[in-house]
């Protein structure tokens, strides 16, 4: 996957808080608010600009009983979806 080498991190203008294990993401300019489930919240926490997508997949596999295919699909969908909405930005380097 091409995305696997990228380092996702939150857009500088996105606000977020984790409440009882669920991330709440606020996009101030649009006013949109999202709540992430447990796995989404874990990916969000790992999308800190220091972990590549590939590394996030590996961590998810170690923490949850999921196959590489499942983990890759979840991570790619998550990152692509939030990057398209400019909630996450992707870097070539950590």
């Amino acid at each position: 996957m091409r995305l696997s080498k990228k380092y996702p991190q939150p857009h500088s203008q996105v606000a977020a808080r984790v409440i009882d294990g669920q991330a709440i993401i606020i996009t101030p300019l649009s006013g949109e608010i999202r709540i992430l489930n447990e796995v989404g919240t874990r990916i969000w926490e790992l999308a800190d600009g220091r972990h590549s997508a590939e590394q996030i997949v590996a961590i998810l596999m170690s923490e949850y009983a999921v196959s590489r295919d499942e983990a890759e699909r979840d991570v790619i969908e998550f990152i692509e979806g939030l990057a398209a909405k400019q909630i996450l930005v992707l870097s070539e380097h950590p």
């Binding site: 606000a15 409440i19 009882d20 709440i24 606020i26 101030p28 608010i33």
Partner: protein, 300 residues
Amino acid sequence: MTGCRSCCLSDKSIYISIADICVGLRVTDANAREEIRNRYNNFLVRKTDARDARPAVDIWVEVCESVQFLPPEKGPWVVKTFLRGSQLSIISYTESGAVDLSKRSGRLIVARQCKIENFLRALYSHLCIVGEALMFHASGVIKDGRGFIFCGRSGSGKTTIARLSTGYNVLSDDILIVKRAGSAYQLCGAPFHSDLPELPLCYRDDRAELCAIFLPRKDTANFIRLVGRAEAVAELISNVPFCTGSKETSERIADLCADLAARVPVFKLHFRPEKEFWRAIDEAIEKVSPTSLTGGGASN
């Protein structure tokens, strides 16, 4: 501080206090001054009290003929707010205001025969989050000494609930303020409401400890569900008006909402538009124990 109309008539300054947040208005136009005094009658404070309380901001209000600050748009009334650093701009069709929150002063230009209501609503929403308070799109009722708010956008049932609450102390059907008071929250009356004449609004600066928050939806049966904290916080954030636009403000609102949701139960309320829904509320409140509210704030 107590509301007092007559004491404010001697000069061009008007002091309004909502949820103990005082705003000074210097209004040179006599007609506009009188209209503001009438509209916010129960929220006016004595000049001396205002000095003691130190107004959060002093606003110079100027009335101009035939001005329009935004092009006409279809749909609901538009109020645009921008916050850059401490510079707050609030613009509607008939109001244009600029406030320096750090210097505690500002200027508002308003079209003649138009209200300053939108400016005040947006200003107070920002002033609230500077302190330990939040403004919500909500109707509010004090029943048996306990405060209840019903948060939701247009069409959710706020006004219907206000209509169905005759006999109780209805504070507003549109905008309310809740304020941290020790380990609890206080529901505070605000003079911001729709202009429907049949509503049983008390329109006073009344207070009560906030007992519960409801997220209403009109339905064919009464049904109440306690919501988890994350969902509650997200719902509360979405009902704070005028304050989106910056990351810092959004984070501040999220932290305040997280604290509120840790201290006051938040319920989804599906209700049949009949007064009987209050019985369902009473039953739901009885079932909530303090331990069902897990403490602690938000984490980054």
